[in-house]
């Protein structure tokens, strides 16, 4: 079997009982202090093939940690995780052929031009450079980025422009599973639209599955087939946007449902009450 192909029946992502704890060390005077905190506390999840799963959650709730587990960049303390039936630890190399990630911070060599960065990416993923450059130019045109921006050091581009290049770079490798960690954060409304259209297009044209972390409720509602809400390392609700709204905020919107599910509305009410008293 070609190592790039996947079994058609496999679920795209499946994981159970995922725990991840981090410890940070720091020196307080002459004493070394170790603080431990859980980023994930027993997460189970399943993403169907060709599905776009949204992950919503407050800052520090464990979204990026979960994405990193899928991206083979972190090893869980407990539990297992499979991408198209392949274990992310044991079959790491084969999983890597199937995935790509766009992270919040566009990770580039900032002194190099977009073309040079893309050449590096193409090399790592076994795509010919000539093909990669043509493809990237096409993708970036559809995202509304002018050609000449590809020839200057990336540090001279705005965050949104860099983010578009990051998206193009990920798509070049035709990933079967695309991990998008806040891909539209920092983009202007038009660019955000462009990227969202593009994501929907990619899903239509290619056979790809996506996991999308976002803080933008409208984006989640527009793009995602299902949404998982994560809070303090636990997934506390999963469903289609319509289901979530119906169950938790009838008459309201996704944002109301989000506040309700995470208990943030209660906290806010309490804070307001305390503020008054």
């Amino acid at each position: 079997m070609d190592e790039g192909s996947v079994s058609p029946k496999a679920v795209a992502v499946e994981g159970q009982g995922l725990w991840k704890e981090f410890s940070t060390k720091k020196w307080v005077g002459a004493k070394r202090q170790v603080t431990r905190s859980y980023a994930l506390k027993g997460v189970d999840l399943a993403v169907q093939r060709r599905e776009i799963l949204g992950i919503l959650g407050p800052n520090g709730s464990g979204k990026s940690t979960l994405i990193r587990l899928m991206a083979t960049l972190l090893i869980p303390d407990q539990g297992w995780l499979k991408v198209f039936g392949l274990d992310v630890i044991r079959d790491r190399q084969r999983v890597r052929r199937l995935i790509n990630r766009v992270s919040v911070e566009a990770s580039f060599f900032k002194k190099l031009t977009a073309r040079e960065n893309l050449a590096y990416a193409a090399g790592l993923y076994g795509v010919s450079n000539a093909k990669a450059q043509v493809e990237a130019t096409r993708i970036l045109a559809s995202l509304g980025l002018q050609r000449d921006k590809l020839e200057v050091p990336l540090e001279t581009l705005s965050r949104g422009q860099q983010q578009k290049i990051a998206i193009a770079r990920a798509l070049l490798t035709s990933p079967t599973l695309m991990l998008l960690d806040e891909p539209t954060t920092g983009l202007d409304p038009t660019s955000r639209r462009d990227v969202q259209e593009f994501v929907l297009n990619v899903r239509r044209e290619h056979d790809s599955t996506m996991v999308l972390c976002t803080h933008d409720m409208a984006e989640a509602e527009r793009l995602c087939d299902r949404i998982a809400i994560i809070h303090e390392g636990r997934i506390i609700a999963v469903g289609t946007p319509a289901d979530l709204i119906a169950s938790y905020a009838s008459g309201g919107g996704l944002e109301d449902a989000f506040f309700h599910i995470t208990g943030l509305d209660q906290e806010r009410l309490r804070a307001e009450a305390e503020g008054d008293g």
């Binding site: 940070t24 990193r68 991206a71 960049l73 990770s107 002194k111 050449a119 076994g126």
Partner: protein, 269 residues
């Protein structure tokens, strides 16, 4: 693309990426090169404080030390700082998530280091030769080249072990590689015979591959000893490389695994 072709393609793209970076930092490259040339010249000029009879030999003795140290420290530094550099740029997760063998990535870094080190050393060599008009009629260049090739391996191995440290601890790791480099500089007899070192550190000289490299290079260039004479030393160097490179790779992979468990791969929380 065949799997092997894919890995080669990836290896080349790592080398190319680094040369692109050199091109972008060209101003700094020229400044460092200028400093290196001056540094080598000033060290060789020390010989002019000696009686004329010893002068030529000492110039060459010191120049060999300066050139080799220059080459070996580039090798060590480029390999050892590859991880901290990518972490600083914020590309480390991208590079490490790529579907290539870690060996390929590291081989790319090492190959770049060797090419870059050779290029810079040649520039300095030419500058020194023009400045001093030294006579190297006795030198056996084949022997010298053999030594250089033999010594690259153990230095790459040391570099790989050094590269691991920033994976374990962001800042302290990078600091530790500097300390290691300093100790190698002290004990390897770069500008003096190791016999001048105090007894309590001299034992370290025998552990440093640079000690053997320098000894052999001086025998080739100053005494004109040919490849045949130098073979035992070259084999020693080569064997130490055969131990250090796989050891470095194994340690690297262990450290990467550790970093993936502890979340130290990326720069910030």
């Amino acid at each position: 693309m065949s799997p092997a072709g894919r890995e080669l393609h990836a290896l080349w793209s790592v080398v190319r990426r680094n040369f692109h970076l050199v091109r972008r930092y060209l101003g700094w490259e020229l400044v460092f090169l200028f400093y290196n040339v001056i540094n080598t010249l000033t060290i060789a000029l020390i010989a002019f404080a000696l009686p004329p009879a010893d002068r030529d030999r000492t110039i060459i003795y010191l120049t060999i030390g300066a050139l080799l140290w220059n080459f070996l420290s580039i090798l060590f530094q480029e390999v050892a700082s590859s991880v901290s550099w990518e972490r600083w740029e914020g590309t480390i997760e991208y590079s490490f998530m790529a579907p290539i063998h870690r060996l390929t990535y590291l081989a790319g870094v090492c190959m770049y280091a060797v090419l870059y080190g050779v290029l810079r050393t040649i520039v300095i060599l030419v500058a020194v030769a023009l400045f001093f008009h030294i006579h190297l009629a006795r030198a056996d260049w084949l022997g010298a080249a053999m030594i250089l090739a033999g010594s690259s391996l153990p230095f790459i191995g040391l570099g790989l072990i050094g590269a691991v440290l920033p994976l374990l601890s962001t800042e302290r790791g990078a600091q530790a590689t500097q300390v290691i480099q300093g100790v190698i500089l002290l004990v390897s007899g770069i500008y003096y015979p190791i016999s001048v070192l105090p007894g309590w550190i001299r034992w370290m000289s025998h552990l440093s591959p640079a000690t053997y490299t320098l000894e052999a290079a001086r025998r080739a260039i100053l005494n004109g000893e040919g490849p045949l004479h130098l073979l035992p030393l070259t084999i020693k160097l080569f064997l130490s490389g055969l131990i250090l490179v796989p050891l470095g790779l194994a340690v690297f992979q262990l450290a990467e695994h550790w970093a993936m468990r502890n979340g130290t791969l990326k720069r910030s929380g």
